[in-house]
């Protein structure tokens, strides 16, 4: 108690001595007064090397620092590619086996090679960096160097094998480097030949692709294809730098609007404005509503609009949310637990901000994520799969599909922030059809089929009332998941409850990440949950998750359910190289119908992203594909500081109560003390 008092005294005097900022600010003093964005990261990014980084949290930084040739337009929907460091969109030409030029509409089977010609804007400069000459400009060689790095086995890029299937000569380069390394010969990537990439001049280069692969342009908008100056690679390649934990994997070097000023992944990462940033302007046109939403107020202004962005380590949701409410973070998602505090559903069923949030001038932005969640059935499983007893197993899968009530799931765990799935393609991606329902699970009027129908299918599958019709043994299914923390307990309980509605006992086998991956690779799982985030906005990126030759078991592909249907596979190869249009849509519709009937997945849901931001942050429009969105954001630090002070006045009444309590306790002690001091040697009894 006495200690508490000392702390209090310290606290109060500390604040009197002079802090302009509230005592509970988690940031370094003075930063909040500048044009700085405050955000957080929950896990430190493993890789900041653009050839290696693949996950969402790494892209959040790389997108601001590295500039691939293309970017997604910030405001336009559907997602549209536009040049970033290029003077125009890449030109593509098709050639047949004899090397003759083909017209642009030639059928895909005739195309053996596509050649992309890429031209850079002149005079783009890098961030200031000790490894680079002050007048160092961006050249085609930097882009070519990075493509070579993708093949380098020492870099172990996650897309090396995938790109090897398309970029001519990339695999050969990898093999050549590997052999040199084995013989102990030094490798200089600049000198190594890469047959599929040709430097035309300082600003122009060509990439040759096997066959027709329209999705390649999307890859050119990802940091994998960002430029890498070879000086930087050499600078960070020394043993001395490595010992100091300074590598290209932690110290990015780019041409982007920001550079990494401080990288202390244990605490904070700071991006600052790149003083050399090339001319880049806020878009002047957007979607129809954008002007009304105030998203065009900065139209035509020179980017970036921020001086810096500070990302603090924040591992848990609660502290993050509380600090957001205190005004110390500018943006926040909404966890399921905080939903009712933040959002009210209006009379028309649309979500809106709660009065409390409105009073704080907090803004809401919603968008559909370009991702899907599903429950997969292992196609190789004897009970549920499509190999042993296809007819019986399909009925069982369909019964389960009907019984799992995703609308309830979405309302409990996502507070309604999700769309129940009807197929493998999420909204926002070409091929998704608004209002098209999965007739296997839903009635024509859009309501979920009754449980009785699921029970009937279950009986037809030979399990009336969840019991094997021949032996009477209860049906037990196994659910494999890597969710093992207590946080996921509620979700697993929900699954169990849902299966119990069909009298099926669901046994949850939760394992760690490794064991789970291992089971999936060996095809030993029975039911599992999985999700997929779009790499690029093309249906191919989702349908390939069900493509037979891409299966997980034995092939190590992404088809985790090991689903295989010859008709689907044939249609997939056809659809892959088509251009978006009615013909492609027709093929996709047939593919979607096949998987709805086969039901290798229970199409669970597409999450909706609800983002909150304080009123002092402008120009925030969620764009799930673009990564380089920081340069468009703007903050009003004056408003922010006023609010921070207003919301964070320390409560003083507990101090008074504490003092009173202390007096109440000290008084009897003091009296006793006086008495004890007069005590005699032999203890009085």
């Amino acid at each position: 108690m006495r200690f508490l008092f000392i702390v209090l005294a310290l606290l109060l005097t500390g604040c009197l001595v002079g802090c302009q900022e509230p005592i509970n600010s988690p940031h370094l003093a003075g930063l909040a007064a500048d044009k700085v964005l405050f955000s957080a990261f929950s896990e430190r990014p493993k890789h900041l090397d653009p050839a290696r980084a693949y996950s969402e949290n790494e892209m959040a930084y790389l997108g601001q620092i590295y500039e691939p040739p293309l970017q997604y337009n910030y405001l336009k929907r559907p997602f549209t590619l536009e040049p970033l460091t290029l003077s125009a969109m890449p030109e593509v030409a098709f050639y047949d086996a004899q090397g003759r030029v083909l017209p642009a509409d030639a059928p895909a089977v005739r195309v053996t090679t596509s050649v992309y010609t890429v031209r850079l804007k002149a005079g783009i400069r890098y961030q200031p960096h000790p490894a680079l000459a002050p007048d160092r400009v961006l050249t085609a060689d930097d882009y070519i160097y990075q493509i070579k790095r993708l093949a380098d086995p020492r870099v172990s890029s996650p897309i090396a094998s995938l790109m090897g299937e398309y970029i001519i000569g990339l695999n050969d380069l990898g093999v050549a480097i590997e052999q040199k390394l084995k013989r102990g010969v030094a490798v200089d990537l600049v000198q190594e030949p890469l047959s599929g990439v040709e430097r035309v001049d300082a600003l122009t280069w060509r990439i040759r692709i096997k066959g027709k692969y329209p999705q390649f342009l999307y890859w050119l908008a990802m940091p994998f294809f960002a430029p890498m100056p070879e000086e930087a690679d050499r600078y960070y390649g020394t043993a001395l730098m490595r010992a100091a934990n300074l590598t290209l994997d932690s110290q990015p070097v780019g041409t982007g609007a920001f550079y990494m000023a401080e990288n202390d992944p244990n605490r904070v990462m700071i991006l600052r404005r790149n003083p050399n940033y090339h001319a880049d302007y806020y878009p002047t046109t957007g979607e129809p509503n954008d002007a009304a939403a105030g998203l065009l107020r900065d139209a035509g202004r020179r980017l970036p609009l921020l001086d810096a962005a500070v990302y603090s380590l924040e591992k848990e949701d609660i502290p993050y949310w509380n600090k957001f409410l205190q005004g110390y973070y500018d943006t926040s998602g909404i966890a399921s637990d905080t939903f009712d505090q933040a959002i009210r559903i209006g009379p028309d069923g649309r979500p809106d901000l709660s009065p409390e949030m409105r009073a704080r001038d907090i803004q809401l932005a919603t968008t559909n994520r370009t991702s899907i969640w599903y429950l997969g059935f292992n196609w190789l499983d004897p009970v549920l799969g499509g190999v042993h007893d296809p007819e019986r197993a399909r009925k069982l899968r369909q019964a389960v599909s009907i019984a799992l009530d995703w609308d309830e799931f979405i309302s409990i765990f996502l507070n309604g922030r999700g769309l129940p799935g009807h197929g493998p393609i999420p909204p926002g991606i070409f091929g998704f059809k608004e209002g098209a329902i999965n007739a296997v699970v839903y009635q024509p009027d859009g309501r979920r089929r009754a449980l009785a129908e699921a029970r009937r299918l279950l009986a037809e599958a030979g399990y009336p009332h969840g019991r094997d019709a021949r032996t009477g043994a209860p049906l037990t299914l196994y659910f494999d998941t890597m969710a093992s923390g207590p946080e996921s307990k509620a979700r697993l309980d929900w699954y169990r409850k849902q299966f119990a509605r069909l009298d099926i006992q669901l046994v949850v086998r939760s394992t760690d990440y490794n064991r789970f991956q291992d089971k999936m690779r060996k095809g030993n799982a029975q039911i599992f949950e999985w999700g997929w985030n779009a790499d690029y906005p093309d249906p191919e990126n989702f349908l390939f998750l069900l493509y037979g030759p891409n299966r997980k078991q034995g092939k190590n592909g992404e088809n985790a359910a090991n689903y295989s249907n010859p008709e689907f596979d044939r249609l997939f190869t056809e659809m892959k190289s088509m251009d978006n249009g009615p013909a492609r849509q027709a093929v996709i519709d047939r593919m979607v119908q096949i998987v709805r009937v086969d039901a290798p997945w229970v199409f669970a849901y597409t999450p909706k992203a609800f983002g909150l931001r304080h009123g002092w942050l402008a120009n925030a429009k969620p764009n799930p594909m673009a990564h380089n969105t920081l340069k468009y954001l703007r903050v009003d630090p004056v408003v922010r500081q006023a609010y921070q002070r207003h919301w964070n006045r320390p409560l003083l009444w507990p101090v008074g109560v504490g003092v009173l309590l202390l007096i109440a306790m000290v008084y009897p002690a003091w009296r006793l003390w006086r008495r004890r001091l007069r005590m005699t040697a032999v203890e009085g009894r």
């Binding site: 702390v7 500390g14 005592i23 988690p26 094998s161 591992k315 003390w673 001091l677």
Partner: protein, 325 residues
């Protein structure tokens, strides 16, 4: 004295070897090198070649204990155990699985750990001793009864409650301190208030009772009676006679843990977002990064042994009768 120290240090070698063996065995029962490679290489598009390459790069392509393919002495040295575990004796911690140098990481992270652990420890010790002394001073009064009941209640509350409650009340409701976070240098103080307070309060029940028991044991000794007979006041008896005589059992408990303050507290650090060695260790356990776990276990054992030696040395300081040979 020097001979004693040398003997103690030699004695430490088999212990550290045993510790190494235990952690090594435990960890490789959980994780094959393939698993480690997969965790590090990420979820999408991982090929068998990439895994093999990662293992070679990080030195995990060798057998565990015995290398049948090597020649002579290399059969024992070209193994994971020798290369990964025994190098620790030279304080070479190597790299974490993400390629960062562990030694470097330990150097930077031990300061935040110390910044939290030192004040917690010393303020805590002072508070606990003061509480215990007061209880002894007021023995056989209602005040003592209330105090003891209070201590039992305090120690029956789960430590997690103090953390969660502290963050909620002091951080969220009263705005007295940042809910979590850390800053280096002088600005650290406001981030330390909450974790230190929680750390001190959560230990008060158990430690207060422990020290009270120690003092009560002394109070029946003859020298106390003599001191009182001399006419010394009760406060003097407590401070000048009982406290020094209780020093040996206090030191036994205190000095051993001193060196371990470097390692920080697992729970407090990860709850309050302090970038110290405690949160480093927890993250490593959760990410199954053997390199870090191994280094931390080794460091922990080493510091424990140092603590034992320091305890013996401190005895000679407080009690002239103790001689080390």
């Amino acid at each position: 004295m020097i001979a004693y120290l040398i003997r103690r240090l030699l004695y430490a070698v088999p212990i550290l070897l045993g510790v190494n063996l235990i952690t090594f065995a435990l960890f490789f029962m959980v994780n094959t090198p393939d698993d480690m490679a997969r965790i590090q290489l990420g979820a999408k598009h991982v090929t068998a070649e990439a895994i093999a390459r990662w293992k070679v790069q990080h030195g995990y392509d060798k057998p565990l204990f015995y290398n049948a393919q090597a020649e002579g002495g290399e059969r024992l040295t070209q193994t994971l155990f020798t290369q990964k575990s025994l190098s620790l004796f030279a304080l070479e911690f190597g790299q974490a699985d993400d390629g960062r140098s562990i030694a470097r990481e330990i150097q930077t992270r031990m300061w935040p750990s110390l910044a939290v652990a030192m004040p917690t420890f010393f303020i805590g010790l002072a508070v606990y001793l003061a509480t215990a002394l007061m209880l002894v001073f007021f023995r056989r009064s209602r005040l003592e009864l209330a105090g003891v009941v209070m201590l039992v209640v305090l120690m029956s509350i789960s430590g997690l409650f103090y953390v969660i409650g502290g963050q909620f009340v002091l951080g969220k409701l009263w705005h007295w301190a940042p809910i979590s976070g850390y800053a280096p240098g002088l600005e650290a103080w406001k981030f330390l208030v909450l974790p230190v307070l929680v750390g001190v309060v959560s230990g008060i029940g158990e430690s207060g009772r422990f020290y009270r028991a120690l003092f009560l044991e002394e109070i029946h000794q003859d020298y106390v009676r003599t001191a009182r007979a001399k006419g010394l006041s009760e406060a003097r008896v407590l401070f000048n006679h009982i406290l020094p005589n209780a020093a040996i059992p206090i030191l036994t408990g205190v000095v051993v843990v001193l060196p371990r303050l470097f390692l920080g507290s697992l729970v407090i650090e990860s709850f309050f977002g302090v970038p110290g060695l405690g949160s480093y260790t927890i993250d490593a356990i959760q990410a199954q990064d053997f390199g870090i776990v191994r280094a931390m276990v080794f460091l922990g054992s080493l510091l424990y042994i140092v603590g034992l030696v320091l305890t013996d040395l401190s005895y000679t300081l407080v009690d002239p009768r103790v001689r080390l040979q």
